[in-house]
Symmetry: C2
Subunit: 466 residues, 2 copies
């Protein structure tokens, strides 16, 4: 183990895993021909003793080992079938790789109730792990009827391929109003995840143990970025990381983010860590319609790394497969907890994490400070070091992004996500030093792809607005 870690350091260090790097092909900068198989991972002892232990002590790995697959597939053919939605499939992905360890499948009622009421689960040994968002599978009356007395069901994708078996099932009532109220702190119409995945879903939830027959792939040219927690741990060990700090994002990276990440590394070095590694971890599942799509964000992130804004030697870029709930202080706990399972022991939290505007009122849905406060008090996250985000803004005196200095507010411009999107849509440039030019071009290209003609431009916004 130690030897393998040492050897890896003699190789050229890259923000992408060594596996990805060596398999890089030229036709598309993000396209790789194959990726390291799960079996390769499983055959090694990968988790460095230096990395934080996963919740429950062991990563859940719910993929059926190859030799058992034919038998399990045969079995599954005889079970009642439940068709998974796109979001259901993302949760199967999340569960299968152990992001939600120690969960071993969709929640049964006891786990669902603990999540809703306590944002945490008490394990048999008395230990408490954080679990703030319900990971549940809804079925309707007709499906429940069809399942009857069967103890297992087969989960199939949109093409009727069998993806997984859910066994030792428990079916219980899906009180959608209560689930929504306790998870989002509102029942207002227009919450993206709620409208997409809950409002019209069935009146029952089905929990059980998952046996996943096919590793979840999306065939979108990005699968090689979807490193499992075990693969990430391997990569951190290979790089000999003695601290891993995670940065969750669902937006393009600008130089304010970059400043924050490089500053975090500086602080960790000051604290005595020798090799802190950044996990730059864009969310890859469901997002709302006006967020920048994953493939464009990945292109943008790549440019940012190419332009040297972040140091490839100490950065790992990977995709977090979870859907986005926009559930603010409740969801930020999930974002943090999942990164513990991937080996991160430091978590950067910004203003209003996983927040959005209230869908029906003229205000933000959550208090911008509640996310970091709730995170710092959350049961089961005591082991994680929470690093609150410093506010970065554009410093006109330096022509670059800098930490806001409250003694000279007149020197700073705040550039919101909305403002950034409006500029890119209008093919205007942001101030020099806001984002690397390559990254900005990707954004302009994306918005250009949405607007075929010259019409549909967004109104110009002054950058001097705060």
């Amino acid at each position: 183990m130690a030897a393998s870690t040492m050897v890896s350091l003699t190789l050229k260090i890259s923000p992408f895993s060594q596996t990805q790097k060596t398999q890089l092909t030229s036709h598309h900068p993000l396209q790789f021909s194959t990726i390291k198989t799960r079996q390769t991972i499983r055959d090694k002892t990968l988790i460095s003793a230096a990395l934080i232990a996963p919740d429950g002590g062991k990563l859940s790995d719910l993929i059926v080992p190859d030799p058992q697959k034919p038998f399990k597939n045969e079995q599954a053919l005889n079970f009642p079938k439940i068709k998974l939605s796109k979001i259901d499939l993302e949760w199967v992905h999340v569960l299968s790789e152990g992001w939600a360890s120690p969960l071993n499948g969709f929640m049964r009622e006891s786990e669902f109730l603990q999540t809703l009421h306590f944002n945490s689960l008490r394990l048999n040994d008395g230990d408490v792990v954080n679990m703030s968002v319900p990971i549940v599978l809804a079925i309707d009356d007709e499906q429940k009827e069809r399942i009857g007395q069967s103890g297992s069901v087969a989960l199939v994708d949109g093409h009727h391929h069998i993806i997984a078996i859910l066994k030792d099932i428990e079916i219980y009532k899906h009180n959608k109003e209560e689930r929504i109220a306790r998870t989002w702190g509102t029942t207002a119409l227009g919450l993206p995840y709620v409208e997409e995945a809950i409002r019209s879903s069935g009146n029952w939830l089905i929990g059980g143990d998952l046996e996943v027959l096919e590793t979840i792939k999306y065939h979108d040219g990005l699968d090689q970025y979807r490193l499992s927690p075990a693969q990430l741990r391997e990569e951190f060990a290979r790089r000999n990381a003695d601290a891993v700090f995670a940065f969750q994002l669902r937006n393009p990276v600008h130089n304010g983010h970059a400043l924050l990440m490089t500053d975090t590394r500086r602080r960790l070095l000051e604290m005595g860590y020798k090799n802190p590694v950044l996990l730059l971890h864009p969310l890859g599942g469901f997002t709302k319609a006006d967020d920048v799509p994953l493939n464009w964000r990945m292109k943008q992130h790549e440019k940012v790394l190419e332009d040297g804004v972040l140091d490839p030697e100490t950065t790992v870029v990977s995709i977090f497969p979870s859907p986005m709930l926009y559930a603010g202080p409740t969801e930020v706990q999930w974002h943090a907890k999942a990164r513990i399972n991937a080996g991160a022991n430091f978590y950067i939290v910004g203003r209003d994490p996983a927040g959005m505007s209230h869908p029906t009122e003229k205000r933000d849905l959550y208090d911008a400070d509640h996310g970091k406060k709730v995170l710092s008090m959350a049961p089961g996250l005591e082991r994680l070091n929470i690093l609150p985000f410093k506010v970065a803004a554009y410093d006109k005196t330096q022509n670059k992004m800098a930490f806001f200095d409250p003694s000279r507010p007149q020197d700073f411009i705040f550039i919101s996500g909305t403002k950034m999107r409006t500029l890119a849509k209008n093919k205007e440039s942001p101030p020099d030093g806001f984002m690397c030019p390559g990254g900005w071009e990707v954004l302009v290209e994306y918005y250009d792809s949405l607007v075929p003609a010259d019409n549909g431009r967004s109104p110009k916004l002054s950058l001097l607005e705060s």
Copy 2:
């Protein structure tokens, strides 16, 4: 201490505390001239080593000691004044006596957020205590303005009497929608506590440490039943209780309840306890309009004890000063936690505790089983033994209340609270053995007091409905 406990056993045992008993006057069975003062309690070491420790190790006692009162009163005159509602005053009462130990005042934001998200508080020593309902004080913009930079405020009652000082205050936003959604699991209009205390309250919450200048009294002839946690602990020690089992109620006691309570005692004796004592603990604060008022319930409970349905030797009747939230699984944790502070180590939980009908939909607001499930998993309540309610019903073959036997359902009649109220309103009798005749007469008398003439009768309901 041990000596005092021994001595007390030589006195005649009563369901009411010794203090109440000796002060009983004849003009009203529930009226006593004076009660033992708090100072008397404070001067003794009252808490038996055998009783369960209060949350946080020590009962909060927020009443200012007599010698300091003049000075504190003088101070308070100079502070900005906040007028308390009836429910606010009930919470001051609750806090002042330590029912919510280790809380020392209205919640600051950190406690409020932990309550909303985790139903529990992490103490400085790392210990976790349960705290599921927000105990907060709302103020409006004008009051906030008036407080300005003051570090303390004076809390006054409806007659402008100063009740308490709130010091080291923290003012933070009152997001009512989020508070309601996370506490009740719904934001539907018509939740009794919400409409009474939240919907039209101010947009700010004010937390701080309470210094209570006047013991809260209601002058309703029932104050002597309002034993503090310290007084209850004294009473349990005096009776040499080695187990205390609490029964929370807000309804008249029928023989099904009585069966349950006597059966619980039998089970505790079988478990090896020598002297299990019942805390029959009706809720005394705010209740919804169609609940039977406290004074009538207390009369009814007294008749039940007089009629020997419950054993006065092993029963303590006292009033729990909390308002009722009707917040189901969230509130039942509060009901249980407060009783730990009063010395109870066993808690009886029934179907749908603290539940009610959904205010706008034709269904119960909560799943009837969630209360006991959530209670059994709640953080901070691990020390409490949860005793789930067995279902009692009227057994026609025995003409009495008995535990329901699923092998012969045809022999049982379920008499709901609604049915009971309808019978009493119509001056009809329930089946023999449902409730002791004296208790039933009180109910008939209560409903009679509401309906001066013969009109306004409720429709007859068949007792054979299930």
